[in-house]
Amino acid sequence: MTATPDAAPPRLELEGIAKRFGDVVANEDIALDVRAGEIHALLGENGAGKSTLVKIVFGLLQADAGEMRWQGRPVRIANPSAARALGIGIVMQHFALFESLTVAENVALGLDAPPPMRELNQRIAEISERYGLRLDPGRHVQALSVGERQRVEIVRCLIQDPTLLIMDEPTSVLTPQEVEALFAVLRRLRAEGRSVLYISHKLEEIRALCDRATVLRGGRVVSTCVPAEESNASLAAMMLGEGKLVPDRPPHAREATPRLELRDLSLPSADPFGTALQHISLAVHGGEVVGIAGVAGNGQAELAAVLSGEVLAPSAGAVFLEGQEVGRLGPAARRKRGLAFVPEERLGRGAVPDLPLTGNGLLSGYATQPLVKHGLIDRLGTRRFAQAVIERFGVRAGGPAASARSLSGGNLQRFIIGRELLQQPRVLICVQPTWGIDALAATAVQEALLQLAADGAAVLVISQDLDELMAIADRIAVIGAGRLSVAEPVAELSVEQIGLRMGGRDAA
């Protein structure tokens, strides 16, 4: 695939790159080369050190040791401007976009010396045209879908005519159809002789798209390979070591009556940038896992809030819990009736960063456990509860007095899910259960959810990770533009079908 003669130096070459944060080693002795006209994968699971490495290449972080060479010349990239000057562009996983500004203003902010607005609008139009990235320069970002926002990021890079484009987990927020469109753009860039450094942990994509792959594990390079010659299993083995990939599925039987039910729920969004929910109906039965798929920003946050009780439904009869109307009840009352909830935002919603785990156990545990007596906190009981969560769910923490902030993402998620499970919920709602956590913790979390369903509870999982939903859900519904499709058994659904439904706002 690579047409570069052996004599030409690689476009980007890293050697011995190391980076620590305090006692944590993020990168150690990293070697990597990206050739002209290739799509090079940087493969690794969450926490393998990919993002740190990318930030070093783009000048957002400085390496503690090691050398970077650009076209064979040693370089020091002090800041993003220097990276851009070399011809490096980046599309971050978390978009560096400004909601209240227009597309053109957002593009201008990413350029070191932008042309006058009129000329810039013209250039944006040209680039959009050439790569099929439809965009209106005058629109405000807040009105754009996630897919369109990514287009803004890509156009902002391409307008600078980069020779190396870094894409950090670009497909995690896209529908399958959008992913195909993105791949077409990236292949076209390769054909123009540009290089792409493609960061992902999705094996299928990497095998379909990338010419070579460098695999990171625990901050070190474990392998460099040609993905087309590898299998998913062999790539996974490199990425995870001895880790376990697929959760065990204990057998579970679906009950006849639903435990959680939404009946024609409509709700205008309180947030001007939010999504209104429209005529949502859904039933989750005991003994099953129902998944809600969809691209971020299509009403998931609003749906989760109205399910947990953080936002009240317009009428009591819009939400049923075990056959009782709960639409006008708050979170505490719903918890007392057997609902448990794991939010997407772990630090700041699911847990208070600066409180110890005792306090964070009390945060939701007070509703179902005898932790408060006569208005006073039972300190011993609270400590015992937190200790039980830590022990039962293998949370690695410095004891119940450790602050939530001090836990890794995976351990915090174990704690939060453990806290909810220990309250023996009859219904569990879980948003993005494994987002951003390492594979071991992710598998443990998924197994806990499946076990809960096997024990007879109703489990609702709202996730943007379609692979995950296909792996653990019995039925899947798709949310798009605030509307929810009928939940259908996974066996009767293909990824393509789901993808088309996910189009939602993009298609409109």
């Binding site: 957002l60 993003p80 976009l97 209240s100 940038f273």
Partner: protein, 308 residues
């Protein structure tokens, strides 16, 4: 009402509105960069006493104005160092700045109490200033009045039409994104905070050199806080701030002259007017949460630390 009386009222409204406009514009720029500086009152007082001291020492009102701006910047720099470099809580630090400014200005101002001073001279424009009615209303003011009026379109133009203005707004919207794109978030916030300080200093100088050419403890009487409220009222738009400042100028004048108009109301009730009006406008504008959400700089008041 005679035309002369109306002209006199308009002139009075202008003088009452000018300090609010100056301080408000400065705070508007500061907040647009995502920094909430509640120390306006303190910065104004330090500017007022410093301006007065410099003017009385040198006999030059203009020197006083310059010193006031510098002192405003110096106090703002203190605030910026604490909140931007040492990442302290902006609300608490702003309150500290006000408490400190009130104390420092009374301390430094002790010798100047009761001392007379010449009012900042009007910019006499031969011919125009002497016109009947129009002359005093439009052309009879001092330099700070015109500066404050010129600053309105200048700030609007800077924020909406220039690249530094765009970058400043982007920092206020999302410092994380601006940082990721390589913009120097902290430096920009410093600059915006210093500008706010300079404008508050000028507002203070206007009080002690032009509005009432004298120094009195706490002479700003809550104007710094009113300016803060006006920024919210203006939904962070310079043009609306102009409107708000002049509306409040009218309220302040009404309060001063109501008794002259024969209204038999105890002076205390009239003195409450500006404060009650501030509450009223805040309620009017804040009840529309969507509007605030769409216009307020999204990161306002939040600590930004690039490594986290």
């Amino acid at each position: 009402m005679s035309p002369d009386f109306i002209a006199a009222v308009l002139v009075a409204v202008t003088t009452a509105a000018t300090p609010l406009l100056l301080a408000g514009l400065g705070e508007l720029v500061t907040e647009k960069a995502g920094v909430l500086n509640l120390g306006v009152e303190g910065m104004m007082l330090v500017g007022a006493v410093g301006g007065f001291a410099a003017a009385s020492a040198t006999g030059s009102g203009l020197t006083g104005v310059g010193v006031a701006a510098l002192l405003g910047m110096a106090t703002a720099a203190l605030f910026a160092f604490l909140t931007l470099t040492l990442l302290s809580n902006q609300v608490a630090t702003g309150l500290a700045l006000t408490i400190f400014g009130v104390g420092l200005s009374s301390l430094l101002g002790k010798p100047y109490i009761g001392m007379p001073l010449d009012r900042l001279p009007p910019l006499n424009i031969p011919g125009l200033s002497d016109l009947p009615l129009v002359g005093p209303v439009l052309f009879g003011h001092d330099a700070l009045v015109y500066l404050s009026l010129a600053a309105v379109p200048a700030v609007a133009w800077f924020l909406m039409r220039t690249r530094p203005g765009l970058i400043l707004r982007s920092v206020g919207e999302s410092p994380e994104a601006a940082h990721a794109l390589g913009h120097p978030v902290i430096a920009i916030r410093y600059a915006a905070t210093l500008f706010g300080g300079a404008m508050s200093g000028l507002a203070g100088a206007y009080l002690s050199l032009a509005y009432t050419p004298m120094w009195a403890e706490n002479m700003s009487a809550g104007r710094g806080w009113i300016a803060l409220a006006l920024v919210v009222f203006a939904t962070w738009k310079p043009g609306r701030l102009l409107l708000g400042a002049y509306l409040f100028g009218l309220v302040l004048i009404l309060q001063l002259h109501a008794q002259g108009l024969g209204l038999a109301v105890p002076s205390q009730w009239l003195s409450m007017l500006p404060y009650l009006a501030t509450i009223a406008v805040l309620v009017l504008i804040s009840r529309d949460a969507t509007r605030i959400r769409l216009n307020a700089p999204a990161s306002i008041g939040k600590v930004f630390h690039p490594d986290t």
